[in-house]
């Protein structure tokens, strides 16, 4: 379970997240929607400690992420994150990209790591690209590789930070299909996304962020289907 309590985050004088409280239960899919600069990506980075916070607390399965003694490297094994930029390790093949962290972090043997990597790459539909370098892949394939790379650590949580925003429109579908597959398998996920239709379809809950706070949170039918706040109505009108 991820518990976010009154989190504040500033970059210098600019406060980006202004007191956010929300919980994400095991097996739940929560989408965060909202305009750019609303603080949604920043919050995601705070959950696995890639960004620090100024106030409040974030707990993952009871572990305080921003406490001094917390071993972040250890915590991050359990929280996969997929970024807007797919961040392929260009000097490694697709298979090596996915094997790297299991080898280095989980200390698996070469053959064990390879078995895990092959399984996850097949899972995302890249079983035929194992020996290829990422430079030869399309954006959608690279993003699916990034998803497999995160899954190879057997995380308990997956965070998606606008995973389809940098893709050509015709490549968005294949990545969304992979994410949908994970949701159906019961993965706990937080999606920061601009794909409103997709959010409505896969999410258990949707949170609308505006100016660093949650304006509305509830079921997709509530927040997207029947929004109550004028800001939510206006935002949905501008993206749908």
């Amino acid at each position: 379970m991820i518990e976010i309590q009154n989190v504040h985050k500033s970059f210098g004088d600019l406060e980006v997240v202004k007191g956010v409280t929300m919980n994400v239960n095991k097996g739940e899919v929560v989408s965060i929607i909202g305009g750019s600069g609303s603080g949604k990506s920043t919050l995601l980075m705070c959950i696995n400690g890639l960004e620090t916070i100024q106030r409040g607390s974030i707990r993952v399965d009871g572990i305080e992420v921003h406490a001094k003694g917390t071993n972040l490297d250890k915590l991050r094994r359990r929280i996969g994150i997929v970024f807007q930029q797919w961040n392929a390790f260009a000097h490694l093949t697709v298979l090596e990209n996915v094997m790297l962290a299991p080898r280095l972090v989980l200390k698996l043997s070469r053959s064990e790591a390879e078995a895990v990597a092959v399984k996850q790459l097949k899972h995302v539909g890249l079983g035929d690209k194992l020996k290829v370098y990422p430079g030869r892949l399309s954006g959608g394939q690279q993003q699916r590789m990034a998803i497999a790379r995160a899954l190879a650590m057997s995380p308990d949580y997956m965070l998606f930070d606008e995973a389809t925003s940098a893709l050509d429109p015709q490549l968005v579908g294949e990545v969304l299909d992979t994410m949908r597959l994970l949701a159906e398998e019961g993965m706990t996920m937080i999606l920061v996304t601009h794909e409103i239709k997709f959010a409505k379809e896969v999410s258990d809950r949707v949170a609308f962020f505006h100016k660093g706070v949650i304006h509305e949170i509830g079921s997709p039918d509530q927040v997207i289907g029947n929004p109550q706040k004028p800001e939510t109505v206006q935002f949905l009108k501008s993206v749908l």
Binding site: D73, R76, N87, V105, R149
Partner: protein
Amino acid sequence: MFSTDLTSNDLIFLVQGAWVTIELTALAMLIGTVFGTLFGFVRASFPTASIPLAFVLDVFRSVPLLIQFVLLNSAKSIVGLKISPFTVGYVVLGVYAAALCTEIVRGGVLAVPKSLRLAARSLGLTSLQDTLHITLPIAARVAFPGWLNLMLAVMKDSALVTWIGIIELLRTAQQINTRINEPLFVFFIAGLFYYVVSWAVSQLGNQAERRLQND
């Protein structure tokens, strides 16, 4: 008809000189690469804290090599250090190469996108693992052509050690020319030696580069 007093012994002498040039270059590049990589990472990772280091390296980059050779060579005599001019030669060249290599490596490290490091850290890699397995190999791809240029520059600059009495390729050519007085021909041959070595280095470099850019 063309005739010359250049003997086969002279050619052997030239080859010996060329070998000294190659040895100097290899040793200097070894020193330069090890320290340049280290300093380059420090410069890229702690830009403010490493300003004193940058200043020292700047001195070695800016003072003409010839002055550095003569200064260190005289200094070791005054202090009474028992090191050969050859050692002085590759140490000075090595420090000079390190100063230049630092900038090449720094550029390579800064060219690795920050998001790539975040991705590595988010998978649970430690800072050191990220540096060794992600940042270093990707920075190396960026830095390699500059490093190769540096090696060729160091090889040519190594000719300056002749001033502290080391007999390398250029010096052998001068000595042969003093005897047979055929400057055009002798220096043409010496130039050819430099070219052949450079060409071989470039070819090896291109091959290595193709392997590095495996895509």
